[in-house]
């Protein structure tokens, strides 16, 4: 007891410490679970009026009419998923390529400053990014990028229709900017954890730098990189402020990415303040419940995808 450092294991106090530590960490882990369960319960409770009135129809209906108390979530689900997919399509290649450059190719003196800049991007508040979106990005999209896309890819339904600037695509691009830092940071950590032996073995077999990166590093880290993407996706699904400012906030399901859209998180942020009566706030609560559901489903789907594609072979071998 008096000299615990000399007998670290055969000591009652130490055992008590171990047990306490175990229970404490268990409690912390459970707290997360309880928190999510409570959020789910509160959302469920808040939305019971809407759940009763609309049932499953809420998910498929495109009606959103606060004046006549008719609500449906489909355009918002569509907007959330599409803007997140756009964001991933843009952000994943950029982030992974940046992470590869930072860990494999960049000269030592450049790595730290570059990393710092990326993390700085993560520190830009959402609302600031949104304002930048309105006043800088959207005008540029309207006069430069969108007309160009329409000119060369206008045969695709995705790039047809009138150009306002604010649009589903603008929302996706803003979200991409917001999730690039998180995907890059996590990917970089994962690539750094790939053992040097892997690379050396590949070099020893006469592989080129590209081959080493592709075979020894990327495929080894596939699972971890996928995790990084999921983290980014989680953020993309719930991103609110900046998206609201550039997506056009129109609940509709259309093919064109130039048309305005709407997301689940945005409609809550926009309308909850002034929602009066009983059914209207309840419908917004249900939108929150749907957002939680979409997030869970997307994560499960991603996990399944990971299992199918990655298989057991790339488990890190320790």
């Amino acid at each position: 007891m008096n000299q615990p450092d000399k007998q670290p294991t055969a000591n009652g106090g130490q055992q008590f410490g171990d047990t306490a530590f175990k229970w404490l960490t268990l409690a912390m882990a459970l707290a997360v679970f309880v928190l999510i369960a409570l959020i789910g319960y509160e959302l469920f409770k808040g939305s019971h009026l809407a759940l009763q009135k609309f049932g499953w129809h809420f998910l498929t209906s495109s009606e959103w009419d606060p004046v006549n108390d008719e609500y449906g979530a489909w355009p918002f689900i569509f907007g959330t998923v599409v803007s997140s997919v756009i964001a991933l399509v843009i952000a994943v290649p950029i982030s992974v390529a940046t992470a590869v450059y930072l860990t494999e190719l960049a000269p030592q003196w450049l790595r730290q400053p570059l990393t710092m800049f990326i993390e700085l991007l993560a520190a830009v508040p959402s609302v600031i990014l949104g304002l930048w979106g309105i006043f800088v990005m959207v005008p540029w999209l309207r006069v430069a990028l969108f007309p160009w896309l329409q000119k060369y890819f206008g045969f695709l339904p995705l790039f047809q229709g009138p150009i306002y600037g604010v649009s589903m695509l603008a929302g996706g691009i803003i979200v991409a900017i917001m999730i690039i830092p998180i995907i890059t940071s996590v990917s970089r950590e994962i690539l750094r954890s790939v053992p040097g032996l892997q690379r050396e073995a590949a070099y020893a077999l006469g592989a080129t730098r590209w081959e080493v990166t592709r075979i020894a590093v990327l495929s080894y880290a596939k699972k971890g990189l996928f995790g990084a993407v999921i983290l980014g996706l989680g953020r993309a699904l719930g991103e609110t402020m900046a998206v609201t400012m550039v997506i056009g906030n129109t609940p509709q399901v259309v093919k064109s990415l130039f048309a305005p859209g709407y997301t689940l998180a945005s409609v809550i942020a926009n309308e909850f303040n002034e929602a009066s009566g009983d059914m209207y706030p309840s419908a917004l609560f249900e939108i929150g419940l749907v957002l939680l559901g979409v997030t869970v489903l997307v994560n499960i789907f991603a996990q399944l995808l990971l299992k199918t594609f990655a298989g057991p072979s790339v488990k890190p071998q320790h």
Binding site: V67, N68, I134
Partner: protein
């Protein structure tokens, strides 16, 4: 030595301030963001005349203000739309509506050369319903003889967030256009006709879009349009005159609007030669029987001051001052409050 005395004095005055703070009455309110600038200015000015009262106002939106008032967690609420009968029936006591400010909604637009545009309700409804899609439409041209309007698309912009400004705007369109009243209706948020134009968050968002997008049209509080130097249209009122929005023309609408005894009224399309048609009041909501006598007394005193003296201050913020007859009626109503 001098320093020491000064710091002692400072400490003493701090103590005095703390003592008087303990005797202070704290009045809390919540609701409309539209009222917030006026209320803040009034709290400051009123605090100078009566230092025993302190105010705390949360501008969480009209819906939230009504909810808090009904749960009796605040002394007063503030709303841009009158409470519905069903909400009033559910409240634990009788709630009084007191109009404290009125404001106009300006129709802003983006056209080459910034011409002064004239519009009427019929045309405006046609634009937002998607029936009028080009700036050189015959209906717009007929209202603006002598103006050459471009052959470009009109892009209507509306508020995405629930807002009292949208309430006034849709209230106006409902009152002048039956098709609008039947298909869209009025509200802080409505189901905007599908596939027409776009929505932006907040007045700054709408103004930002209108400024950027050639051919766009939108609506914003008069104060906002004025401060940001965005051109706005003259609107045809019910007497057939084209009126520019300003505090005077909104006041004129208030003076001629039909105001019932419970003060739940709409002032859109008010009669009167000089009345601007797209305007609305904003209300403070209080219980007719105050639970806390001390707070109630202070609140009534403040509100009496706000609807009379306070009106001079709110005009500086582009709100329309309440006309004399409305002020007198409100003072009478305030006298009926019991504590």
């Amino acid at each position: 030595m001098k320093k020491l005395i000064l710091s002692l004095l400072g400490g003493a005055s701090l103590l005095v301030a703390q003592n008087s703070a303990q005797a202070q009455i704290s009045i809390t309110g919540a609701g409309s963001t539209f009222d917030y600038p006026a209320l803040t200015k009034w709290f400051e000015a009123y605090g100078k005349t009566d230092s025993n009262v302190r105010f705390n106002y949360q501008s969480i939106g009209s819906g939230g203000g009504i909810k808090n008032l009904m749960n009796q967690t605040v002394d007063f609420g503030a709303s841009d739309a009158p409470m519905k009968d069903e909400d009033l029936a559910k409240a634990p006591g009788k709630i009084l509506h007191l109009p404290i400010v009125a404001g106009g909604v300006a129709i802003i637009y983006n056209l080459p050369g910034n011409p002064k545009l004239k519009l009427d309700g019929e045309t405006l409804a046609g634009i937002y319903l998607g029936n009028i899609t080009k700036w050189n439409d015959a209906k717009i041209a007929a209202l603006n003889p002598g103006l050459t309007l471009p052959d470009t698309s009109i892009i209507p912009v509306h508020r995405a967030d629930g807002s009292g400004t949208s309430f006034i705007f849709t209230d106006y369109l409902s009152s002048v256009n039956p098709a609008w009243a039947n298909t869209v209706g009025k509200g802080a948020s409505v189901k905007w006709p599908a596939g027409i134009g776009l929505a932006a968050k907040g007045s700054e968002g709408v103004a930002g879009q209108v400024k950027q997008l050639p051919g766009a049209i939108g609506y914003a509080e008069l104060a906002y349009a004025n401060q940001n130097k965005i051109p706005f249209a003259d609107m045809k009122n019910s007497s057939g005159n084209f009126i520019s929005p300003d505090p005077a023309s909104v006041s004129a609408a208030l003076a001629t609007a039909k105001i019932p005894d419970d003060f739940r009224f709409s002032m859109v399309n008010a009669p009167g030669e000089k009345a601007y048609p797209i305007a609305g009041p904003s209300w403070v909501l209080v219980y007719a029987k105050q639970k806390n006598a001390a707070n109630g007394k202070q609140l009534v005193a403040f509100l009496k001051w706000a609807v009379t003296e306070g009106q001079k201050l709110s005009a500086d913020l582009d709100y329309a001052p309440l006309p004399e007859n409305v002020q007198q009626r409100e003072l009478k109503l305030l006298d009926t409050i019991k504590y």
